[in-house]
C-alpha cells in the first residue's frame, strides 16, 4: 500500500554493489525503512551513476542529491579538517582508529562538514590501504622509486606516495583499470575489497601489506536536506546510520576473508614487508605537517587517544 507523505532521500556513491560498504548502505536503508515505517526511504545509486565522489559532494552542496558515501580523502578538498585522517601510519590499528572516530574527534569532524553544507552522519570501516603493482613486488620503499602509483585526487595521498619514494599519479577510480592495463601507471594503492571488486587483481599480481593509511569512509548528508527533516526524522537517520556502522564492520571483515581466498586462487602474491621501513620514511611528511600548529594539535590529540 502507498504510504502518505513519504520522503525519499537519493543516496549516491561510487562503489560497485558487490562491495561491503554498499552492503552497509543497504543495511542503513533497511533499518531506516523499519524505524520510519516506510515514511523515510533511501534510493541508492551505486557505481558512480550520478558522478564521481567530488562531483557528488558538489551536488550535495547544490542540493539536488541528499546523501553520499565518500572516502574521507575526498572530503578533504571540501572540508580541510578531514585531511588529518589521511596521514600515513597515524593510527596504530583499527581499534585505535575507531576509538578516535567514535569519540569526540570523530564527532567534531562530522560536525565540521556543516560549515560546507556537508553534514557528516557516520564513519564506515574502509580497512587499511596498501600498495599493489603489476610487474614487480614492492618489498621496501626503495622499490617504489620510478614507479607511477595511482592515488586518489587529494593532496595528502599525492604527498604520501611521493614521500615514500614513488611517483604519485592522481586519477579517477573509474579510469584506473584501463590505465593499469595500458601501463599508464605501474601500480596503485587501496584496501583489499576495492582491489578485488575493481578486478584490478586480474592485472596486478603483487599486493604488499605495508598498510600505510587507514582512511575511513564517511556518510554525508546535504545540509539543505538535513534542515528539512523533523527532529524525529533526524533521529531515525542517525540511529539507522549508527546501526549500519556495526553491520558494515562485520561485512568488511567477512569480505576481506573471502577476498583473500579469491586472491590466492588468482595467484596474487602477498608481500609482508618490514613496515617500519615505510613508516620511518613517512615520518618526514608528518613532521612537515606538524609545522602547522592546528594540525600538530590534532595529530597529538589523535595519538593521545591511542594511549588510552
Amino acid at each position: 500500500s502507498e504510504i502518505k507523505d513519504k520522503k525519499v532521500l537519493y543516496f549516491a556513491h561510487s562503489l560497485p554493489i558487490t562491495h561491503p560498504v554498499h552492503k552497509g548502505i543497504l543495511a542503513f536503508q533497511e533499518s531506516l525503512n523499519e524505524k520510519s515505517e516506510g515514511k523515510l526511504q533511501l534510493k541508492i545509486f551505486p557505481d558512480a551513476q550520478l558522478g564521481s565522489e567530488r562531483e557528488t559532494l558538489e551536488l550535495l552542496q547544490i542540493g539536488s542529491v541528499a546523501m553520499t558515501k565518500v572516502s574521507a580523502a575526498s572530503m578533504s578538498s571540501f572540508a580541510p579538517e578531514y585531511e588529518v585522517l589521511g596521514i600515513p601510519y597515524l593510527f596504530k590499528d583499527s581499534e585505535h582508529l575507531f576509538n578516535v572516530l567514535e569519540g569526540d574527534i570523530g564527532k567534531e569532524l562530522l560536525a565540521a562538514g556543516s560549515e560546507y553544507l556537508l553534514r557528516g552522519i557516520c564513519f564506515y570501516d574502509a580497512g587499511s590501504r596498501s600498495f599493489y603493482a603489476k610487474e614487480r613486488a614492492i618489498q621496501t620503499p626503495s622499490d617504489l622509486k620510478g614507479m607511477k602509483i595511482r592515488v586518489m585526487n587529494d593532496k595528502m595521498s599525492v604527498d604520501m606516495v611521493n614521500t615514500l619514494g614513488g611517483s604519485a599519479t592522481p586519477m579517477a577510480y573509474g579510469e584506473l583499470y584501463t590505465a593499469l592495463q595500458q601501463k599508464v601507471v605501474d601500480g596503485a594503492e587501496n584496501n583489499i575489497p576495492s582491489f578485488v571488486t575493481s578486478n584490478h587483481y586480474e592485472i596486478c599480481k603483487y599486493y604488499t601489506f605495508d598498510e600505510h593509511s587507514m582512511i575511513p569512509d564517511v556518510v554525508v548528508m546535504s545540509s539543505t536536506f538535513w534542515k528539512t527533516l523533523s527532529e524525529t526524522e533526524k533521529k531515525w537517520v542517525q540511529d539507522a546510520a549508527n546501526e549500519s556502522v556495526v553491520k558494515e564492520k562485520q561485512y568488511w571483515k567477512e569480505t576481506v576473508e573471502e577476498n583473500m581466498k579469491v586472491l590466492e586462487e588468482a595467484n596474487v602474491q602477498f608481500i609482508y614487508p618490514d613496515k617500519t621501513l615505510f613508516s620511518n620514511q613517512a615520518d618526514a611528511l608528518t613532521k612537515t605537517l606538524m609545522q602547522d600548529p592546528k594540525k600538530k594539535a590534532m595529530i597529538e590529540r589523535i595519538r593521545a587517544v591511542g594511549a588510552n
Binding site: Y10, G51, I62, S64, G174, Q181
Partner: protein, 434 residues
C-alpha cells in the same frame, strides 16, 4: 513520476529539434525542464550547469580536440593527392579502377584524419572531374565516395569511439574499440568494392591503367610517411606505450613535423589552423556538455533501467530485441547526426544489450556502423550533402545510387550484430578485453 518525466523529456526534445533549435540547446532545454519537474528551481538549474561542465572534465576527452587538430593540419598538406596516387598504382588497373581507387583512398584518408566529411570532400573534390571526363557516371561515383568515407569512422583513430567510450560510462575502453573497428571497417570497404564490381558487370565501366612496379614503389614511398601515422597512433595505444589522449597529442606533433618536411605548412598558418580546430571542437564538446547533463538525468530517473525492463519483458526474444534496437537507430540516424545520437542512445540501449550478454565493444561497432548509414540518408545527412556537393550532382540523383550500397551496408550491420567474433576477435587477440 518517471513516466511523466520520460514523456516530457522526449516530447520537448524532439519538439525543439523539429522547431529548428540547435541540437545541443534542444538537449539542454528539455533536460532542464525535466529536472525542474523533480527538483526545486535553483538546485535544478545549478545541477544542469554542473553536469554540463563536469561531463567534459575528463582527460580521455582531450583526444578529441587533438585528433581534430591533427586532421586539420593534415588537410592543409597534400596528403589526399599522395594517398590517391598510392591507391591508383595499387588497384587502379582493374575495370572501373578509379572507383576502387576512390574507395581505398577514402578509407585511408578517413582512417588517418578520422573525419568522414574531410575524406569525402578531399578525395571527392580531387577525383570528381577526372573521373567524369573518363566516363564514370557522376551519381554513382558520388555514392561510392560518400559511403566509403564512412569507413574512416570505424577504422582507428576515430573520435566517435572516444565519445562512445564516454557514453558507455567506461565499460568499453577506447583502446579496445579502436582495435575492434578494423574488421567492420574493412568489411564495409570490401562490400562497397563488391557493389562496384556488380555495377561494372551490368553497366560496364572504363578500364584502368596499369602501372609499373617502379611507379608503385615511388607512390608507396610518398604515401608511407602519412600512413605510418596509423601505426604510430594505433600501435602505441595497443602496445600500452601511451593512452589515446597522448596518442592524439603525438599525432598532432607528427602531423606538424610532416607538414614542415613536405614544405606544405608555414608558421603563419598555425593561428587559422588552431581557430578552425577550436570551432569544430567547440561544436562537438558543447553537444557533449548538454548530452552529459541529459545522461545524468537518465540515471537520476532510472530511465535506462525502465527501457531494459520494457524491451526484455515485452519483446522477450533477444534476436528481436537487437533487431528493434537496430531499426530504432536507423530511424534516428535519418534525422539526427552521429555525435548526439551516440551520446543520447548509448546510455539507453547499452544496458539492454548488456543484459542480453552483448559485449559493450561489440555494441560500439553496431551503433557506429548503424549511424554511418544514417549520415548518408536524408533529411539530415551531412555526409550525403557534402559528397553530392563536391561531385556537383543533385542529392536526389545520388540517393538512387546510394540505396543499393546502403542496403549491403545494412547486411554487414546485421552480420556484425549477430556475429560477436567479428568485433571481438581482434581486441581479444591483443588482450584488450577478456
Amino acid at each position: 513520476m518517471e513516466t511523466i518525466s520520460i514523456i516530457l523529456l522526449f516530447i520537448t526534445f524532439f519538439g525543439l529539434l523539429a522547431y529548428g533549435v540547435p541540437v545541443a540547446y534542444s538537449i539542454g532545454i528539455s533536460t532542464t525542464l525535466t529536472l525542474l519537474l523533480n527538483i526545486a528551481f535553483m538546485p535544478a538549474i545549478t545541477t544542469a550547469c554542473q553536469r554540463m561542465t563536469t561531463g567534459i572534465d575528463n582527460f580521455a576527452l582531450l583526444a578529441i580536440p587533438f585528433f581534430i587538430l591533427a586532421g586539420e593540419v593534415m588537410n592543409r598538406g597534400g596528403i589526399a593527392n599522395r594517398l590517391i596516387a598510392f591507391a591508383k598504382s595499387l588497384i587502379g588497373s582493374l575495370p572501373g579502377g578509379m572507383l576502387y581507387v576512390n574507395t581505398l583512398a577514402a578509407m585511408l584518408f578517413g582512417a588517418i584524419s578520422g573525419s568522414a566529411i574531410a575524406a569525402a570532400s578531399a578525395i571527392g573534390s580531387t577525383l570528381t572531374e577526372k573521373m567524369a571526363k573518363d566516363g564514370y557516371p557522376r551519381d554513382f561515383s558520388a555514392a561510392v565516395n560518400i559511403t566509403s568515407s564512412t569507413t574512416g569512422l570505424l577504422i582507428p583513430p576515430s573520435n566517435v569511439f572516444i565519445i562512445f567510450a564516454l557514453a558507455s560510462g567506461g565499460t568499453a575502453s577506447v583502446a579496445a574499440l579502436f582495435i575492434a573497428g578494423y574488421i567492420p571497417g574493412l568489411l564495409v570497404g570490401a562490400s562497397i568494392m563488391f557493389m562496384i564490381y556488380l555495377y561494372g558487370k551490368r553497366k560496364g565501366l572504363p578500364m584502368g591503367e596499369r602501372v609499373s612496379m617502379k611507379q608503385l614503389f615511388i607512390d608507396f614511398k610518398s604515401a608511407i610517411l602519412s600512413l605510418s601515422l596509423l601505426f604510430i597512433v594505433v600501435g602505441g595505444i595497443v602496445g600500452g606505450i601511451f593512452t589515446a589522449t597522448e596518442a592524439a597529442a603525438i599525432a598532432v606533433v607528427y602531423a606538424v613535423i610532416l607538414g614542415f618536411v613536405n614544405r606544405e605548412l608555414k608558421l603563419k598558418d598555425f593561428k587559422s589552423i588552431l581557430l578552425t580546430s577550436a570551432k569544430t571542437t567547440a561544436i562537438v564538446m558543447f553537444l557533449i556538455c548538454t548530452s552529459m547533463a541529459m545522461s545524468w538525468l537518465f540515471s537520476f530517473e532510472s530511465i535506462p533501467q525502465m527501457f531494459t525492463d520494457f524491451l526484455i519483458e515485452s519483446v522477450k526474444n533477444p534476436f528481436l530485441v537487437l533487431l528493434v534496437i537496430n531499426i530504432t537507430l536507423l530511424v534516428v540516424g535519418t534525422f539526427m547526426d552521429m555525435t548526439p545520437a551516440v551520446l543520447i542512445f548509448t546510455p539507453i540501449f547499452l544496458p539492454v544489450v548488456m543484459a542480453l550478454g552483448m559485449h559493450p565493444v561489440q555494441f560500439g561497432m553496431v551503433m557506429v556502423l548503424n549511424l554511418c548509414i544514417g549520415i548518408c540518408t536524408p533529411p539530415v545527412g551531412t555526409l550525403l550533402f557534402v559528397g553530392s556537393g563536391v561531385a556537383k550532382v543533385p542529392v536526389t540523383k545520388v540517393i538512387k545510387k546510394l540505396m543499393p550500397i546502403l542496403g549491403v551496408m545494412t547486411i554487414v550491420l546485421l552480420i556484425i550484430t549477430y556475429v560477436p567474433a567479428i568485433s571481438l576477435w581482434l581486441p581479444r587477440f591483443f588482450g584488450l578485453i577478456e
